[in-house]
């Protein structure tokens, strides 16, 4: 019971420090989607990519960036619906398959990331290695 109280206090404390920082980029609020798409990496917030991108990505899960990330039909539909509903709006001619290839992403990270941090993360897709608040939607808290 003592442990439980301590973890509650820690939760409250982290929530408070987080809300002191600025911009929030959104999180995956649906439990199934968060678990399934968060098993191998951060469950990337839907608002980072447009609907066309999510359609392509979730439409080809057996061949997912070199991994098999296949889901049964029902779960695939559920996850796709969630991502489509919360995707980024606007017109996109060449829909990206990666957040890490978006122009703003490259610009934000080109000069800011030290070689050491990059190496520790292993890959730029590993947002959480550098952004500790990523699962809560914060990317400007380092």
């Amino acid at each position: 019971m003592k442990k439980v109280t301590v973890s509650v206090l820690m939760l409250v404390a982290t929530a408070m420090t987080a809300s002191a920082d600025g911009k929030r980029y959104g999180t995956i609020r649906d439990k199934v989607t968060r678990e399934e798409c968060g098993a191998c990496h951060l469950a990337y917030p839907a608002g980072f990519l447009p609907a066309v991108s999510w359609k392509k990505i979730i439409g080809n899960l057996p061949d997912h960036f070199g991994d098999d990330a296949s889901l049964d039909e029902e779960t695939t539909k559920h996850v796709l619906n969630y991502y489509l509903k919360h995707s980024r709006h606007g017109k996109f001619r060449n829909p990206a398959m990666r957040i890490t290839e978006l122009r703003w992403f490259v610009r934000e990270h080109r000069h800011e990331v030290s070689r050491r941090a990059r190496k520790r993360a292993g890959t730029m897709s590993n947002c959480q290695a550098c952004h500790r608040g990523a699962a809560r939607g914060y990317f400007d808290d380092d």
Binding site: V8, L42, P62, F65, D67, A129
Partner: protein, 133 residues
């Protein structure tokens, strides 16, 4: 504050119950696999499956150890950098206890590494090996 303590206390209770439940889930999964395989499982064969470099799968994942690390006692890492808890039951007590989860990951990972699904015998050998560690 008071209110938020109750669900947490309940989840704490659920956590203390999990090892027992996990054990029974695992037994059920093994019994099912046993019936399909019709042959005794072997930890040695499970170890060989885990350690080997295979052909026929996706180029970036030639072995189970690519993601799970060379020792079942150690944590692994996905190709996207996320930590994977150790595969040995002695280290991660709730391993191989949810039939849906087990089926999903055997399907994905055997296809990735071997280029085909694993047989019931291979699955049983693998779990038996991980229970022996």
């Amino acid at each position: 504050m008071r209110k938020s303590l109750i669900p947490l206390a309940l989840s704490g209770l659920a956590m203390t119950l999990t090892p027992a439940l996990a054990g029974s889930g695992r037994t059920g999964i093994l019994e099912q696999l046993q019936a399909e395989a019709g042959q005794a499982f072997s930890a040695e064969r499970g170890k060989a499956l885990f350690m080997a470099r295979h052909k026929g799968g996706k180029p970036k994942t030639p072995s189970c150890t690519t993601c799970h690390s060379k020792s079942p006692l150690n944590a692994g890492r996905t190709r996207a950098g996320k930590r994977i808890a150790p595969m040995a039951v002695s280290k991660t007590s709730d391993r191989y206890s949810d039939p849906k989860k087990v089926a999903k990951w055997f399907r994905r990972n055997c296809r990735s590494v071997l280029g085909r699904e694993c047989t019931p015998l291979e699955k049983g050998d693998f779990i038996t090996f991980m229970m022996s560690r």
